[in-house]
Amino acid sequence: MDLVLQLLFTGIGIGAVYALVALGFVLIFRATNVVNFAQGEFSMVAAYLMVVFSVDLGWPYWLSFLLALAGMALFGVIFNLGVYYPLRNRTYLPVIIATIGASILLSNSVLAIYGPQPQVLQGWFDTPGIQLGPVYLDSQYLLIIAVTILLVLFNFWFFEKTLLGKKLQATSQDKEMASLLGISVSTMIMITFIYSAVLGGLAGILVAPVLFVSIQMGSTIALKAFAATIIGGFGDVAGAIVGGLALGVIETFGAAYISVPYKDGFAFLVLIAFLVFRPQGIFGERVAEKA
């Protein structure tokens, strides 16, 4: 029972990271109807920015953190202008391929600069964790869970209560109508990319002390986050979060009770099982293309 509780905690912690990246996926998908296959690399780039500022340059952790997030905002702009925007009037296939190209470009550029050795990034807190009864609560996982909860609340407030959030929603639902109402669609898409890059970056920075900073971390996280969006129900914000948490838990238990080397395979098996038996996911978003 103690082990179960401990695994549950770890699973939710790692699942929270998947949920954050999945949220970034969903936001971009809703704004552009395109899945950004470089979403995971957003996390990886942010983690490396953290390494540059905090480890290589030795700047304070909080300053590095803010600079890395600012860097991600800029990165979102560049990504939109370089990869998505020129292809915005084409079908989804070229855009997917371009984002895959971007993902390869990013991870291998970092590989060329930093080499294949994983980098180590300190956690935010000096205390490694606290013992709560039978369960050891790692401080970094606690931080991840706390930040995820805050972000989910922020996300709700932002999209439901602010004018900008409503404009973003309008754009994602009907671009032509939104533009006729005087909303600048390209600005809204730009904002989405920035927000999504920062969100992905945040996830990367938070998970880096747990996973090591490596070039593979992006693709691993992205694939799981995508699996999470399908499990939760594609395009659904709540689904992305629930799916992410569920996947983190499944994977942690699978690694503990079934097999460690195939840990990364569980997500994909769950994904394929969902695609075959319940493609609309837990929250039942319609997946068929519109007639």
């Binding site: 296939l93 190209g101 590989l111 060329a112 080397p261 990364d264 994909f268 994904l271 997946v287």
Partner: protein
């Protein structure tokens, strides 16, 4: 005529037989094979050539799935690796015959590809991209971790070749011959029935469905062929290099295959060879790129973005496009006989019987208990104000929407639960309000897809009969002389005529026309009216939806009126148009 004429359809329109026209290809291939076998290469060159040859075959697979059918596969390296491991483990560990292993590699990858496709191809392309990446990762995980079977990261060594090709040079010649044969098949594929279906699916899935193409199955075929070619290439690769290891078949390698395919031109096997050759040679020339890990893959990634943006059809696509445009204007289409329409008459007096048809979207009853009986041989109109449920009815009839309740019987066959392509096979033809043609094809090719309908008794066997039928249909609508032009060069009104020709070529039992007069000018409307008369004169039953009252009242003998999803009037044209409910629905009541 000799027996060979039965196997290769006798060309009535093309001047020379297929085998003669393609002879230069085989001569060229034979020369290449001889060169590969005869020239003295050193080991380094030999390895590069062997790699280029086997990779090209794998890239052919992408040209089928992505270029022809418009579906993405990001696991080609996994299929390639699958094939390589089957041949590797089979010959090295189990000491099986090479040929047996190669056939096994093809069979296993075909099944794996088809199975993977079945799980996701019903969903959108995003899913396919993700699932193929996932599959790729699982395959890599298994290769590395299932040490008992795969030897893990150490890889498989001592892979054997067939007795016949022990010598490296002769093995290369064998691979080049395989490349030539597979290349020929892939090159020829777009002009076959399956190839046309794939192109139709790529251009417009909806239109492909209502023109009798089983969209799902076509995608699975494309995916299966792609996987099979990957497996074949992998098997040849394993035999050639005698050693394989998991890192050769990683996700990065799938991206390399994708880049090769995109660079050369995704739509043609020639492009595949160009792209593969370039991307194998360039890194060899620029060896310093390989000294920094990641650098050359980073450049590939950048290539992908730039090609997609600036050269979406690749190197060969660019060349071929210019050539096609030039040829389309020079080649005059052959003259055609008059189009014969012989609608099937298996059912009774009523061709289409719709009873209690409903379609609800959540709480909205778009169509609510509608009955329609379309008499054989007449023009029947379905009219109603905007939002009355006309187009929804048509979409339920053609199978794009599932009926909530009710029954649809076409010529004695209950088609209520059939998929769109099955309804087409049962004798339903339709056009769309917003034209849905296959935009990358010529007018003739579009109409050929219609003529290819399963159960079309008006078309003989072979491609030439198909072309003939399509030409007749195009001539019937007055566009025979422009048959070889691309869709984009036709005016809106003419595109509508091509859509009608596409439906007519299939010799339907019932023709559904969705607002055919929408967007036409007055001359075009007159022409359309004339065309409808000529169609009706051949005994084909038409169900037409339109706003144009002049057209409807002149062309139709029978009218059904819908309003708010319900039938408010039905009967002989003039009587219905004077019906007070109809007048008030259109003009409002006091």
């Amino acid at each position: 005529m000799s027996a060979s004429d039965n196997m290769i359809p006798a060309p009535a329109v093309r001047s020379r037989p297929l085998i003669v026209r393609h002879l230069p290809y085989f001569i060229g291939a034979a020369v290449l094979v001889t060169l590969a076998a005869g020239m003295r290469f050193d080991g380094y060159i030999l390895n590069i050539l062997l790699q280029a040859t086997t990779f090209s075959i794998a890239v052919f697979g992408l040209s089928v799935v992505l270029g022809l059918c418009g579906q993405i596969n990001l696991a080609q390296a996994a299929f390639f690796g699958f094939g390589a491991y089957v041949v590797g483990l089979g010959t090295a560990d189990l000491h099986l015959n090479f040929w047996l292993c190669l056939v096994g590699a093809c069979a296993i990858t075909l099944v794996a590809g088809a199975f993977l496709g079945m799980s996701t191809l019903r969903l959108g392309g995003h899913y396919l991209a993700m699932v193929t990446i996932s599959f790729q990762q699982i395959v890599t995980l298994v290769m590395i971790n299932a040490i008992g079977i795969t030897h893990g990261p150490d890889g498989v060594a001592n892979i054997r070749r067939p007795e016949l090709f022990q010598n490296s040079q002769s093995y290369l010649a064998f691979c080049v011959a395989m490349l030539a044969i597979v290349g020929y098949l892939v090159w020829h594929l777009p002009d076959t029935k399956l190839g046309r279906a794939m192109r139709a699916v790529r251009d417009n899935e909806l239109a492909a469905g209502v023109n009798g193409i089983d969209v799902f199955r076509t995608k699975i075929y494309a995916f299966g062929i792609c996987a099979l070619l990957g497996g074949l290439a992998g098997g040849l690769f394993a035999g050639g290099f005698a050693y394989v290891s998991p890192d050769q078949f990683s996700f990065a390698e799938s991206i390399v295959f994708l880049t090769m395919s995109l660079l050369g031109g995704v739509a043609s096997p020639i492009g595949s060879v160009i792209g593969t050759g370039l991307l194998i040679l360039i890194p060899e020339w620029l060896r310093f790129l390989k000294s920094v890990p990641g650098l050359y893959l980073a450049i590939y990634g950048l290539f992908v973005i730039l090609i997609i943006r600036f050269m979406p059809d690749g190197i060969w696509g660019f060349v071929a496009d210019a050539f096609t445009r030039w040829r389309a204007h020079t080649k005059a289409p052959p003259a055609a006989a008059a189009l014969q329409l012989k609608p099937a008459t298996t059912g009774g007096d009523i061709v289409l019987e719709v009873t209690g048809l409903s379609k609800h979207f959540g709480g909205l009853k778009a169509v609510d208990g509608v009955d329609i009986a379309v008499k054989r041989g007449g023009v029947h109109a379905l009219i109603g104000p905007n939002g009355s449920g006309k187009t929804t009815t048509l979409n339920v009839l053609s199978g794009l929407y599932k009926a909530t309740s009710g029954r649809i019987v076409l010529d004695g066959t209950d088609i209520t639960t059939m998929a769109p392509h099955q309804r087409t096979a049962a004798g339903l033809g339709r056009t769309f309000q917003n034209i849905r043609l296959f935009r990358s094809m010529t007018a003739l090719e579009n109409v050929e897809i219609g003529a290819e309908r399963r159960g079309n008794t008006m078309v003989g066997k072979g491609d030439d009969a198909l072309t003939e039928r399509a030409m007749e249909a195009l001539t019937f609508v007055g566009l025979g002389s422009r048959a070889n032009e691309l869709i984009s060069s036709f005016s809106y009104g003419h595109q509508r005529l091509i859509e009608i020709a596409r439906a007519l070529a299939s010799n339907p039992t019932l023709l559904l026309l969705d607002e055919p007069a929408a967007g036409l000018n007055s001359t075009e409307k007159l022409e359309l009216h004339e065309l409808l008369k000529r169609i009706a004169a051949q005994g084909l039953t038409i169900l037409i939806i339109d706003h144009d009252m002049t057209l409807v009242s002149e062309a139709a003998q029978h009218i059904t009126v819908l309003n708010f999803g319900r039938r408010i009037a039905d009967g002989e044209s003039m009587a219905v148009l004077r019906h007070p409910d109809v007048v008030s629905a259109y003009l409002g009541s006091e």
